[in-house]
């Protein structure tokens, strides 16, 4: 059985089994999901090991023609970027299932929607056919609505609606863009590889690229279209926030890279300076807004806007040069690092919320005395967010900053100063909620600190952050050849 299809089919089969299972078999449902999560992790690991970085390029290809008349085929394949993002999704899927272990409310439906989302994400990262790419993209987006509406908290109807409308508006931009590409190429194929060989007319590229960039960018938290993301994160249940901020936002960035930049490099180059400005604003703006939030998850939400800004900055710098390789390596590394880090953030913030039913930072105080383990884990995630060396995002940020400093020195200095702002809002949360005199209201939490099973998903995420923090080679060796090949195309 081909590896990529196996990875894609594992959650698909899980979904079918889930639907056939009785409502009451809660334990069984959880176990099956956890098993499928673990299996995808192992398969992704096999993919990681099996991918040969020395030859680079697209590997593990599978093609089955489907609708030959309009050139749609089931075409899967991954390059280095795909490999690490598949890995990311598998890790977040597995840890997400474990995070939601205690869920009691409509377990079957919850996991069914979540697995559907996971299928969509895997599909996007592997598809080399524009039709399937968009198809999976929509599959990944749509389950968010019921997930937030049914299992969410707070103002969930509003948040779910807002998220859905923003993302669909993004898709509404994307769809004509993709169709325009299909028709303009006139190759009668949706195949990404075939299309990327075609050189599009520069005027056309300049016209169509913003459709793709903004369409995908909405999902990547592009300033000023980021409004849905913090609101959505806050209302969603933990594992959904994890998948959402951890993986779903990467779909947007991945789309910009593999569809937008690959097919329309000249359009991308034309627009890059503008989008660099937006990315820099996003980084600084997100940090400043995060500084005044009163809700844990809102802080993380705006920090995601800020950190995804680094990804977008890296992508745009990769087109502008001159430090293209580092910029793209950094952007892709940041996708992975931010994915793991946010998953850790939301999984821990969600835990604290589940136990205390409060997300308001000011409600707490000295929580470090009451829930030392949960707080320590949150602190690790926070430090990763602050770009501390020894954790994965340091390398990603280093590479992007390096490129920024060379290409636009002023923008470079501004985003590096952003590191201080990040530290300010992260430490603010620490000091208000975790340090200081313990609030007697939460004495009952002492007995409910993380233990046993709850520690496993967080431990996995921390381990990943530390491993890539100290051995960035694992990542860079894998993606470097892809980056070189990718940039060599234009």
């Amino acid at each position: 059985m081909p590896l990529l299809s196996s990875i894609l089919l594992t959650p698909a089969i899980t979904l079918i089994i889930l639907l056939l299972m009785p409502q009451k078999a809660v334990r069984g449902i959880r176990l099956i999901c956890a098993f499928s999560g673990l299996l995808t992790c192992l398969l992704s690991l096999q993919l990681w090991m099996g991918y040969d970085p020395t030859t680079g390029g697209i590997q593990f290809e599978e093609i089955i023609p489907w609708v030959a008349a309009i050139g749609i085929s089931y075409h899967l394949g991954v390059d280095g970027f795909g490999v690490i993002l598949v890995m990311l999704n598998a890790i977040v899927y597995f840890t997400g299932v474990l995070t939601m272990w205690d869920l009691e409310d409509r377990v079957k439906e919850y996991f069914a929607f979540m697995v559907l989302l996971v299928i969509g994400v895997f599909g996007v990262f592997m598809s080399l056919d524009l039709f399937f790419f968009f198809f999976f993209y929509e599959i990944a987006v749509v389950p968010m609505y019921p997930l937030i509406l049914i299992w969410g908290s707070g103002n969930r109807a509003y948040a779910g609606m807002k998220l859905m409308l923003f993302l669909l508006a993004g898709s509404a931009l994307l769809f004509p863009g993709l169709l325009a590409i299909y028709h303009h190429a006139g190759l009668n194929t949706f195949d990404l590889i075939a299309l990327s060989a075609h050189t599009f007319d520069p005027q056309f590229q300049i016209f169509v690229y913003p459709f793709l960039y903004i369409g995908f960018g909405v999902l990547a938290g592009l300033f000023p279209f980021h409004g849905w993301s913090p609101t959505g994160h806050v209302a969603a249940p933990s594992a959904v926030s994890m998948l959402h901020a951890g993986v779903l936002m990467k779909l947007g960035a991945f789309g910009i890279l593999t569809v937008g930049i690959r097919l329309l490099p000249e359009g991308a180059a034309y627009w890059a300076p503008t989008f660099v400005v937006l990315a820099v604003i996003g980084i600084i703006y997100g940090a400043f807004v995060a500084m005044r939030q009163t809700d844990f998850k809102f802080v993380i939400g705006f920090s995601s806007v800020s950190h995804m800004g680094i990804v977008l900055l890296g992508l745009n710098l990769a087109i502008l040069g001159p430090v293209v390789i580092d910029a793209l390596n950094g952007a892709v590394f940041q996708m992975f690092a931010h994915g793991i880090m946010t998953a850790l953030f939301f999984s821990t913030a969600g835990y604290i919320y589940d136990k205390s039913h409060s997300k308001t930072i000011g409600d707490f105080g000295g929580l470090g005395k009451q829930m030392p383990r949960a707080v320590s884990i949150f602190i690790v995630a926070g430090l990763c967010g602050a770009g501390l060396p020894g954790l994965a995002s340091f390398w990603a940020e280093l590479l992007v900053f390096l490129a920024a400093l060379k290409t636009y020195p002023i923008a470079g200095v501004i985003v590096i100063l952003g590191l201080v702002l990040t530290a300010v809002y992260i430490l603010r949360v620490f000091n208000l909620a975790f340090f200081g005199a313990p609030n007697p209201k939460w004495e009952n939490l002492k007995a409910q600190d993380m233990s046993g099973l709850h520690l496993i998903p967080r431990a996995i995420l921390i381990a990943v952050l530390v491993i890539f923090g100290f051995v960035p080679r694992l990542m860079l060796d894998l993606i470097n050849s892809t980056t070189v090949a990718f940039l060599g195309n234009f």
Partner: protein, 607 residues
């Protein structure tokens, strides 16, 4: 054992202890403590073993590659790192031993010892780092472990605040350093320290003097943050909120020493950048004087020691900027020993009397604690520069260098700072040993052995270390200059003057017990309020940041997000309004249809 094994033992054993303690030994504080102590001993012995082997070629391993950048991970084993590595490991070991007494009853003991171990790992790895980026990584980790240790008693809001302040302020400096490092990477695609410093092919030969000045200044901003130089020094006195052994560690051989050590590492670059050297010299001299003046009036023993650290760091940086690598290293090492000693003595007093006020300690009978008082006297004298103790020799070197290069104005500044140092140090000694009255009853705890032993060991160091100047110079590959007797006269003179005035103000019988500066009211106010630097920050940088975040938060809620919401709500309302048309009321539909038809007919008819 071969060099690689030794260096790995030196650096990795504290890390291993940290991991084991924090994961497995949270419930067994005694085991954690024992493990960490053993790890520290192994680290110290291996560091000594390395020093005994003498300097060797750096060890390098490929770390990663991205684009044109190739990063190495490795260890530099030259005189400076070998000697300072031993000092770091030695002082860490002393402080860990001392902590077994000081922190004996603290519930968070495992966390405490684990963090100490983490600290030792990051500092030692920083000292031996061969690659500039590797240095930066461990430099940041040193800052991180300081954050956790300063905020160790995080349930105290002051401690949490102090930890945050330390982290943020050093981070401001780190941004400068980071930009400087990235600039280097861009220019030469290389981070290898020996290669960068090579006199024939190094960085200084490849780039213009202006650029070199810019880079070294950026790096110096990082040093200013870490080594608490004006204007980024205000975190250091606040950091006294941590446990006293932590202060001893932070302000002697680790955290603050990291900045100076980075300057030692990159000394040739600073020497090639002449403008930078002059700026650095000015800042360091100013810092030395500024912090001494604050130390003159503070009443808290730890604060006085903290300000004295700032001023002594200023001395080291002065020496380095004036061109003497040896004087900088020498003073760094001697200061590490006697400042650790002084803090540990202060810790004994605080442990015994539960007060930080020097006058209170004196009144409670501080001088009855024999080991502490001995340490205080020797350490204080060494700090003041009383011959023949350690501080005298190293300060002497600094003056010699300043005089040698004709930096007269800076030399005057240094003499002033040295005078003030002697004055405030002996003020501290007299306040503790010659109280105006003593309370009859003695409630003090006895000094436990495990706290006395490190103090006595360090006292010995403070006495003897000064005589090893020649060895240290040889270790650096330099020859020590012989001192002119002419220079010794003013050096000793200012010290004696300082002690004398301190004696008149605080020491003699019926002393006024107010400093001479109290007579000059404006200066006294200025010094007591720490030159109002914190206040200036509060109304400038802090206020601006808050204002910006408030404005942008408002923008997000009212302009960006608000308008999206209004847009969505507008559509909803339009929809709601238009549903009225669909009322299901047949007559109304019919009526509309007739009106519409009439209008169309009218239009067609009139056309």
């Amino acid at each position: 054992m071969d060099t690689l094994t030794l260096i790995l033992l030196t650096t990795i054993s504290p890390l291993a202890c940290f991991i084991i303690a924090i994961i497995f030994l949270v419930q067994q504080p005694r085991a954690a403590q024992g493990l960490v102590l053993c790890g520290s001993a192994v680290s110290l012995l291996s560091a000594i073993g390395l020093l005994a082997q003498g300097p060797v070629e750096p060890l390098r391993f490929l770390w990663f590659q991205s684009g044109a950048i190739q990063l190495q991970f490795g260890f530099i084993l030259d005189g400076a790192s070998l000697m300072f590595g031993v000092v770091v490991a030695f002082i860490t070991a002393c402080i860990m031993l001392y902590s077994t007494g000081y922190m004996a009853h603290d519930p968070g003991k495992t966390r405490y010892f684990a963090m100490l171990s983490f600290f030792a790992w990051s500092m030692l790895s920083f000292v031996y780092a061969v690659d500039l980026l590797q240095s930066f990584i461990f430099w940041e980790l040193v800052g991180l472990s300081s954050f956790f240790l300063i905020g160790f008693w995080f349930e105290k809001p002051e401690a949490a605040g102090a930890a945050r302040k330390a982290f943020l302020m050093t981070r401001v400096g780190d941004v400068g350093l980071f930009i400087g490092i990235l600039l280097i990477l861009q220019l030469v695609s290389n981070f290898d320290i020996p290669t960068l410093l090579d006199p024939q092919t190094g960085l200084s030969t490849q780039i213009s003097p202006g650029l070199l000045n810019a880079i070294t200044l950026l790096i110096f901003i990082g040093i200013m943050g870490k080594s608490a130089q004006f204007p980024l020094h205000t975190w250091l006195p606040d950091a006294m909120e941590g446990p006293t052994p932590v202060s001893a560690l932070l302000h002697s051989a680790t955290m603050v020493a990291a900045g100076v050590f980075l300057m030692i590492r990159l000394h040739p670059l600073f020497m090639a950048a002449q403008d930078t050297a002059l700026i650095v010299l000015s800042i360091a001299t100013f810092t030395a004087i500024l912090s001494s003046t604050i130390a003159m009036v503070d009443t808290d023993i730890k604060k006085v020691l903290a300000y004295s650290s700032i001023s002594q760091l200023g001395f080291m940086i002065m020496a380095l900027a004036a061109g003497s690598l040896f004087a900088g290293v020498f003073h760094l090492i001697t200061h590490a020993i006697f400042k650790a000693l002084l803090f540990l003595c202060a810790g004994i007093y605080i442990h015994a009397y539960h007060t930080n006020s020097m006058a209170e300690i004196g009144r409670s009978g501080g001088r009855r604690l024999k080991a502490a008082t001995l340490g205080l006297l020797i350490g204080g004298a060494a700090l003041s520069g009383v011959p023949p103790l350690a501080g005298f020799w190293s300060k002497e070197e600094i003056f010699a260098q300043l005089g040698h290069n004709g930096f007269n104005i800076y030399m005057t500044g240094a003499f002033l700072a040295a005078f003030l140092t002697a004055y405030y140090t002996f003020r501290m000694i007299f306040l503790i040993t010659k109280p105006d009255h003593t309370s009859e009853s003695d409630h003090s705890h006895p000094e436990p052995m495990n706290m006395q032993a490190p103090v006595l060991l360090l006292t010995l160091g403070a006495i003897l270390l000064g005589f090893f100047g020649t060895n240290i110079a040889n270790g650096l590959g330099l020859t020590a200059q012989h001192h002119s007797l002419l220079l010794m006269i003013p050096t000793v003179g200012v010290v004696i003057l300082g002690i004398l005035i301190a004696y008149l103000d605080y020491g003699r019988n019926n002393a006024p017990r107010t400093g001479f500066i109290g007579k000059i009211a404006p200066l006294n106010t200025l010094f007591t309020n720490k030159w109002y630097i914190d206040e200036v920050y509060r109304i400038t940088i802090v206020a601006i940041t808050h204002a910006l975040s408030r404005i942008l938060h408002w923008t997000e809620n009212h302009i960006l997000d608000g308008n999206y919401d209004r847009f969505g709500l507008g559509i909803l309302r339009t929809g709601a309004k238009s549903t009225r048309v669909q009322s299901g009321w047949m007559q109304l539909y019919l009526g509309w249809a007739i009106i519409l038809l009439a209008v169309v007919a009218l239009y067609l008819g009139l056309r």
